[in-house]
């Protein structure tokens, strides 16, 4: 889901940087108000978890690969704004140091994976786990569903961003300048593979860790309730 350099035109790249700037500003402001100093180590773990989970490329035999983002977990435990910061840190390092995701596409990649994903995941978890006791199975299911749906929303957006490019940019003879595949190819490809395979990875890792924390540290889940 890491859009490389050259797949999005300059206008799309610029728009997403422009959209992310106020989001990053708001995230800093809100995290400054709400996050406690003792939660900072957990935020660091959230960034580390997201970073490493994205390295687990899951193959579709003879097809493509994809991965989870691990960002819904941080959103459940620390709130969507803090999660947004943690995932942004992971994505920026991946782009700058490892060339995973383009530097021109940092705005778009952060919009998909570090903004929409944690927010969608957070609110889906909230809705499904509403009023559920901290140790209930409903919380585990809520975490899984939030992971699955949020990753797929992010994949859908990525597909749309790819798919719009041939409409915006092509030469006089019809050759694409950036991503050559339109919405009719990009959206089913991105969404299909995440619905089928990669979404389940996000669902399982999110649900398993929540299940683990129910036993190990229920107070952490309680804290997430007010984040």
């Amino acid at each position: 889901m890491h859009i490389p350099d050259g797949y999005l035109g300059p206008a799309t790249c610029g728009v997403f940087y422009a959209v992310m700037l106020p989001i990053w500003t708001a995230a800093s402001r809100i995290v400054k108000k709400t996050l406690k100093a003792r939660q900072v180590p957990l935020l660091a773990i959230g960034a580390a978890f997201s970073f490493v989970i994205m390295m687990f490329n899951v193959p579709i035999p003879a097809g493509t690969t994809g991965h989870a983002v691990g960002g819904v977990l941080a959103a459940i435990l620390l709130g969507p704004w803090a999660a947004s910061i943690a995932i942004t840190v992971a994505l920026v390092i991946q782009a700058l140091l490892f060339g995973d995701g383009g530097i021109t596409a940092i705005g778009a990649n952060c919009f998909n994976m570090a903004f929409v994903l944690p927010f969608a995941g957070y609110y889906i978890y909230k809705a499904i786990s509403y009023n559920a006791p901290i140790d209930s199975n409903r919380r585990v299911i809520a975490a899984g569903a939030a992971g699955y749906i949020a990753l797929n929303i992010a994949a859908l957006l990525t597909g749309i961003e790819f798919g719009l490019q041939p409409l915006f940019h092509h030469t006089a003879n019809g050759q694409a300048l950036y991503c050559p595949y339109g919405l009719n190819v990009a959206v089913p490809a991105m969404l299909g593979e995440h619905l089928l395979i990669f979404g389940w990875v996000e669902a399982i890792v999110t649900a398993l860790v929540i299940k683990y924390l129910q036993k190990q540290s229920p107070e952490l889940l309680k804290e997430g309730e007010v984040a």
Binding site: G6, A37, L43, A47, M55, T64, I85, I103, A189
Partner: protein, 111 residues
């Protein structure tokens, strides 16, 4: 053991296992992620390299491209797996330092 220690052990286990993200796709003959093809792959897929893509794709030269040390591309899976683990360690150490700095700037002690 403190919870935070246990979670760090979990991260360490994931780092050690991370080469699975390299080995499994290789084993099942899976190609690049959708929309993350190199220029050569693009040439094969659509018959040309989009001009804008050609220009922008070489814009940034990452120090550890694709989690592999430069010049190690042909060294085989054991070497690449080692580089993958080292990349995870380097990436995570930097991520943790950056988050701690952000935390230091944003959040006052004792809150």
């Amino acid at each position: 053991m403190k919870l935070i220690t246990k979670l760090w052990i979990g991260i360490a286990v994931l780092i050690v296992l991370s080469p699975l993200g390299l080995i499994l796709p290789e084993h099942f003959k899976a190609g690049s992620a959708w929309g993350e093809w190199s220029s050569d792959e693009m040439q094969k897929l659509v018959g040309y390299i989009p001009q804008g893509l050609k220009k922008l794709s070489s814009l940034w030269s990452a120090p550890i491209p694709d989690y592999a040390f430069k010049g190690w591309e042909e060294k085989g899976l054991p070497h690449l797996s080692f580089a993958y683990v080292m990349s995870a360690v380097i990436g995570i150490v930097i991520a943790v330092v950056v988050v701690l700095i952000i935390g230091k700037i944003l959040i006052k002690k004792g809150k």
